[in-house]
């Protein structure tokens, strides 16, 4: 969705400016290097022996690439010709394009990158920075997808600051030698409570809005 200023119906005519192919702006440009950065950051040091780490790294690279491709093609028109009228190669290209657009690659990237990080030995400060990178990537993708300005995130800034504070606390707690290698029962309890909270939020809520359509 675009995010230019509203053009009131009574305002004078502005010069014609066709919509650009989305995504536009710095957010889209930022998403690609951020995706690369978090994959590289999570992969360091580069795995040599363990096969699971290699699999996670490959998954992270593939999902990062596809999420950026998905972002790049999300604004292109889907084509006006019917697939049935296309030639074989064109049909295959169209199928790939639709598949890339349909699947949630960014979610896959999150899981793959966190999995890759988890396969490394514990390094709290490294994981904390990865978390910040993932957040930045998610917001960049959101801004690029909706073609919105950075200002739309202003209402979320206090929560974001509080969340980053919690992240710093968690990293600090993990860095304490007393917790290192222990059973970490308090973390388990907090995590399970938060899991329940998130599941409750995710439950579908019945919509109350009605819309009148007018030609």
């Amino acid at each position: 969705m675009a995010a230019s200023d509203p053009n009131p119906a009574g305002a004078p005519e502005a010069p014609w400016q066709p919509a650009r192919i989305r995504p536009t702006g710095r957010a889209a440009l930022a998403a690609a290097p951020l995706a690369a950065l978090i994959v590289v950051w999570a992969a360091l040091p580069v795995p040599t022996g363990r096969s699971w780490t290699k699999i996670a790294l490959i998954a992270a690279i593939v999902t990062a690439a596809l999420s950026v491709i998905r972002l790049a093609i999300s604004g292109t028109p889907s084509g006006f010709r019917s697939v049935a009228l296309m030639s074989g190669p064109a049909r295959a290209v169209e199928w790939v394009r639709r598949t890339v657009r349909a699947l949630p690659w960014a979610e896959g990237l999150i899981v793959a990158v966190l999995g890759l990080e988890a396969l490394h030995p514990a390094r709290p400060w490294h994981t904390g920075l990865l978390g910040l990178g993932l957040l930045a990537y998610l917001f960049a993708v959101h801004l690029a997808e909706t073609d919105a300005r950075l200002a739309v995130l202003r209402p979320q800034l206090p929560l974001l600051a509080a969340g980053i504070g919690l992240l710093a606390l968690a990293v600090g707690a993990a860095a304490l030698p007393a917790l290192d290698g222990g059973p970490a029962t308090p973390v388990k309890v907090i995590a399970i409570a938060a899991l329940v909270l998130v599941a409750a939020i995710a439950l579908p809520f019945p919509g109350a809005g009605t819309t009148h359509r007018d030609g």
Binding site: W16, T146, A162
Partner: protein, 414 residues
């Protein structure tokens, strides 16, 4: 309105769940920390939604013109603290301006916003859909509604024609072209001796002083002319956007517009799978009818088998006939010959800008040469019987190819 979690919320949820799960499985609290910002943002998810959202979409344009922006207005009310993003998703051959977002804080203004679309090609077109998306402040919930826009008839972008071809002999109807006959116009025609009954205000005093008898100025009569445009819609070949059909449509629209602006009477004969025509007339409404016929074409009307003789009702005596055609249809060529033999002044604007494809073989090249020679022969034969054929590529104004015929009146020969 369809309400759902936004893609952003789904990604945050994934981050939160993955972080928490890894924290539990690996017993590493830093993963719970990674999940914390996402969790906090998800906590702001609002249960309350606008009770009734009203979206009104209106367009005043029943007819658009190729290449010219057309406004539509979108009014939304009842969004109740949600940002409303409004975007026009254009259909084929339509481009749209960038969408707009009405911030939540201006919800009570209830003002309509204007979006514009531009048809890129003439025809009866589907505009597209207006997509309205409501988002909460944290962008976790999305409500979406699509409003289908009606079809619009898009007229061809008229070719520029600033000058006009005028015949030497015009019918005696009041118009704006200076005729050979003297009358009540404003263009000076000459001086003659005064006869009783003449208007005294037209006395030419310098001539009277020189000759010693009363002389008065005469003026050219102002007449209208009948113009019939023939649009050959039977072929559509050539470069995309500049096919023969595009050029015929644009050329015919530009010519009709030019002559109707000059208060001439304009008629149209469309030749394609059949024949359809509208007799000469004047005025804005008549122009609308002509454009409608030009866009819809002659399908379903009189069969084209009788095309070699064009309808007499559409061809008033002494009319100027301007045909836009690639001259690929022999029947139309015969019809033009017939018109000339019937005494009409005919001018053909040739819009063919491409030839048949050939694969580079000798036989193919020979075929192409023969085809070109045939085309030249057709044009030559028309020129020989007094039908000028000018070539127009669609990229220049129509004035350029028509220049030799717009500088002076064309003498009518029967």
């Amino acid at each position: 309105m369809r309400w759902a979690l936004s893609a952003h919320a789904r990604r945050l949820l994934t981050l939160a769940l993955a972080g928490l799960a890894l924290a539990v499985v690996t017993r590493r609290p830093e993963f719970a920390g990674v999940a914390a910002p996402a969790l906090l943002l998800l906590v702001t998810w609002r249960a309350g939604r606008p009770r009734a959202v009203e979206v009104r979409v209106g367009t005043s344009a029943q007819q658009a013109v190729e290449g010219q922006p057309v406004p539509i207005t979108v009014a939304i009310s009842g969004q109740d603290g949600y940002d409303a993003g409004i975007e026009l998703v254009p259909a084929a051959a339509i481009t749209a301006e960038r969408g707009v977002t009405i911030p939540a804080r201006s919800a009570d203004l209830a003002g309509a916003v204007r979006l514009r679309f531009r048809p890129e090609r003439w025809g009866n077109r589907h505009i597209g859909t207006v997509q309205v998306t409501l988002r909460d402040a944290c962008r976790l919930t999305e409500g979406r509604v699509d409003v289908e826009l009606p079809r619009v008839r898009c007229a061809p972008g008229p070719a520029v024609l600033a000058s006009s071809i005028v015949l030497s002999k015009l019918p005696s109807r009041l118009g704006e072209h200076a005729a050979r006959a003297t009358g009540e116009g404003v263009e000076f025609a000459g001086v003659r001796e005064f006869v009783p009954g003449d208007r005294q205000r037209r006395i030419n005093w310098p001539a009277t002083t020189r000759r010693g008898t009363l002389h008065l100025s005469t003026f050219a009569a102002e007449r209208t002319q009948n113009v019939v445009v023939i649009a050959d819609l039977g072929a559509d070949v050539g470069e995309d956007g500049f096919t023969t059909l595009d050029l015929v449509e644009r050329g015919a629209a530009g010519t009709m517009s030019r002559y109707l602006t000059g208060r001439d009477r304009v008629g149209l004969i469309c030749v394609g799978s059949g024949i359809a025509w509208i007799g000469p007339g004047q005025g804005r409404r008549h122009f609308g009818r002509l454009l409608d016929l030009l866009v819809t074409g002659p399908a379903g009307l009189e069969r084209a088998s009788a095309m070699t003789r064009l309808p007499r009702a559409a061809l008033p005596p002494g009319a100027l006939i301007i045909a836009f055609s690639p001259l690929l249809d022999r029947r139309l060529v015969e019809a033009i010959r017939d018109l000339r033999e019937r005494g009409f002044s005919v001018l053909v604007v040739d819009v063919l800008n491409s030839g048949p494809d050939h694969d580079g073989s000798m036989l193919s090249g020979l075929t192409e040469r023969i085809w070109k020679l045939e085309q030249q022969a057709i044009r030559f034969s028309l020129t020989e019987i007094g039908v000028p054929v000018v070539h127009w590529n669609g990229r220049t104004t129509l004035d350029e190819p028509l220049a030799p015929y717009t500088r002076r009146a064309i003498v009518v020969r029967h």
